[in-house]
């Protein structure tokens, strides 16, 4: 007996979304429920988790306020620094570079992704350490320069690690730009600077917003760069989390911080979308 058409259609749909649904449930929803449950628990006497129902962990969030503040300051600053460096590069690639060279130059922006970020960051540890750039300073007579393990070093690592992620969306939005608009603007006697602020910049804003939101959100969960270039002193929430799970073994408190971090990310995302909405007018902006 053949199945009715509607049933068959539904079965096919279920088969198509089935595997992903199972995945999303088992590895996203379930773990989330787990950390929410854990966040209301207690630390076991020897560390780990012990069932309980208490708001103690959330009440204690203030003990990590410094890490939250640090992250919420350095993430947008890092994204802004990335933007300042990335914009001219994206502009050059999309507008100034000749088509033949463009492909090569764009590929060169992506290639660093193929070397481990860890290894590249380690190279910075060397460059910023006493045997690297400070050693060069000694040749000109400036002694005892310290670069590594400072917020500045972390910021540099951030710009380095996330620059390609900022360049690409801006480049894409600038590349779509109709050059005839720029020519028309020049023909009508507009100065290059007013063409830039009047036409180029507004049209590239969607790319800018995408890049800034992407980098900011990724930075909110950063661990490696502050760990390696901050000397265990410049703490992000990511570092505080790792510490709570892998050193002080306070799983409930760690879970509460993880839940809070997700809430912060969602808030940042909503604010970013709101701003994007406003600057871009009614144009649709894809943040992800």
């Amino acid at each position: 007996m053949p199945l009715p058409h509607a049933t068959k259609r539904r079965l096919i749909t279920a088969a198509l979304v089935g595997p992903a649904s199972v995945w999303l449930f088992v590895f996203l929803v379930l773990p989330f429920i787990a950390i929410i449950v854990f966040a209301f628990g207690e630390r076991a006497p020897e560390g780990g988790y012990q069932a309980a129902f208490t708001f103690e962990q959330f009440a204690n969030l203030g003990a990590r306020s410094a890490a939250f503040v640090n992250t919420l300051i350095l993430a947008p600053i890092g994204a802004a620094a990335c933007l300042i460096v990335a914009y001219p590069v994206a502009y050059y690639l999309a507008v100034k570079a000749s088509p033949q060279r463009r492909l090569l130059l764009v590929s060169l922006v992506v290639v660093p992704f193929w070397t481990s970020l860890l290894v590249r960051t380690y190279a910075w540890m060397y460059l910023l350490g006493a045997r690297g750039i400070p050693h060069l300073f000694e040749f000109v007579g400036i002694e005892n320069v310290r670069l590594i393990n400072t917020p500045g070093a972390v910021l540099l690592g951030i710009v380095y690690g996330y620059l390609p992620l900022m360049i690409m969306p801006i480049y894409v939005s600038l590349e779509k730009l109709d050059r005839r608009l720029l020519e028309a603007s020049a023909d009508l006697g507009a100065k290059p600077i007013s063409t830039f602020f009047g036409i180029t910049l507004p049209l590239s804003l969607p790319g800018v917003m995408t890049g800034v939101a992407l980098v900011t959100i990724l930075l909110l969960g950063e661990y490696l760069i502050p760990q390696l270039l901050g000397g265990g002193k410049v703490f992000f929430i990511g570092n505080a989390l790792v510490d709570l799970f892998l050193q002080s073994r306070n799983w409930p408190f760690g879970s509460a911080i993880a839940v809070t971090l997700v809430v912060v990310v969602v808030i940042v995302l909503l604010v970013a979308m709101r701003i994007a909405w406003r600057v871009a007018g009614t144009r649709q902006v894809d943040l992800i």
């Binding site: 749909t13 279920a14 088969a15 198509l16 979304v17 595997p19 992903a20 649904s21 995945w23 999303l24 590895f27 996203l28 379930l30 773990p31 989330f32 429920i33 787990a34 950390i35 988790y49 460096v85 001219p88 590069v89 502009y91 050059y92 590929s107 060169l108 290639v111 660093p112 193929w114 070397t115 481990s116 970020l117 860890l118 290894v119 590249r120 380690y122 190279a123 910075w124 540890m125 060397y126 460059l127 350490g129 045997r131 620059l163 990724l218 969960g221 661990y223 390696l228 990511g238 989390l241 790792v242 799970f245 760690g254 879970s255 993880a258 971090l261 990310v265 969602v266 995302l269 992800i288």
Partner: protein, 270 residues
């Protein structure tokens, strides 16, 4: 402007150049160049632990990217057929899988799996007829699963965007001509979305291969390449690490080149 752009490229490539340079260091320090040598390449290749870490990373990245490509594409197509409300739920979950920081994914997966294993393992032990019941533990499975979550969402997003831009009339025409839905899919839809699936696969592979933080939590006793490198930073990096990083870089450049070449061939023959 040109000078500035040149400077940015220098900034991007100085550390990479340094990594490659020190892979040819004669001395065992990754911080003092004492002469030219290729010995570290040989040592890296004969270091069982480093090779095992590389193999683990490749297995995990290929598996999770393949699963993500298949299931993610299926989901992207399936979501087209869902009602608006169900589709919104899926959209929300996939978006969450992408924006939730890796460190939280790692922790949450660890917490959940440790609990689930703690519940299931005694059950298996009670039901198992033999002496040594299998024990579920963190390892390949948990890393692939946790990476798969993010990468599947990535593939779904990319493929969905492509599907949205497809014209529906050709699909309708195909079914009007009595092609079965499967034939329509294989001959009409698939060729158009294959580039986005491949792009998704590549991104997924790259993400999984380079991920440290998620694997750090859920790897159990398995070592991936980033975990090995992180551990090396603590016990003192030798140019072996630089050698392996250089080899990975060269291998990926060769792959990109081949992919470019093949794509060019295809577009010219078509």
């Amino acid at each position: 402007m040109r000078a500035l752009v040149t400077f940015v490229y220098l900034f991007l490539y100085t550390p990479i150049a340094l990594v490659v340079l020190f892979s040819f260091n004669a001395g065992r320090n990754a911080s003092e160049f004492t002469g030219f040598s290729t010995q570290w390449y040989g040592r890296a290749l004969s270091n069982t632990f480093l090779m095992e870490a590389l193999r683990n990373s490749l297995i995990i990245a290929v598996t999770s990217a393949a699963l993500a490509a298949v299931f993610g594409t299926m989901a992207a197509i399936g979501m087209e057929r869902l009602g608006a409300r169900t589709r919104a739920i899926f959209d929300g979950l996939f978006a969450a899988a992408i924006v939730v920081p890796g460190v939280v994914i790692g922790i949450a997966t660890l917490v959940a799996l440790v609990e689930v294993f703690g519940f299931i393992n005694p059950v298996i032990a009670a039901l198992w007829p033999g002496d040594q019941p299998p024990k579920l533990a963190l390892g390949y499975g948990s890393i692939i699963a946790a990476h798969g979550l993010f990468t599947m969402a990535l593939v779904t997003m990319i493929v969905k965007a492509r599907i949205a831009s497809l014209g529906r009339d050709i699909v309708e025409a195909s079914s009007d001509l009595y092609a079965t839905p499967f034939t329509t899919f294989r001959q009409i839809v698939l060729p158009q979305i294959i580039p986005s699936i491949l792009a998704g696969f590549l991104l997924a592979f790259t993400f999984s291969f380079d991920d440290f933080i998620i694997a750090f939590f859920v790897a159990g006793s398995k070592t991936t390449l980033p975990i090995y490198v992180f551990a090396s930073i603590r016990r003192g990096v030798t140019p072996e690490i630089n050698a392996i990083a250089t080899m990975v870089l060269v291998a990926s450049l060769v792959l990109i080149f081949i992919a470019r070449f093949l794509m060019r061939e295809r577009t010219t023959t078509n």
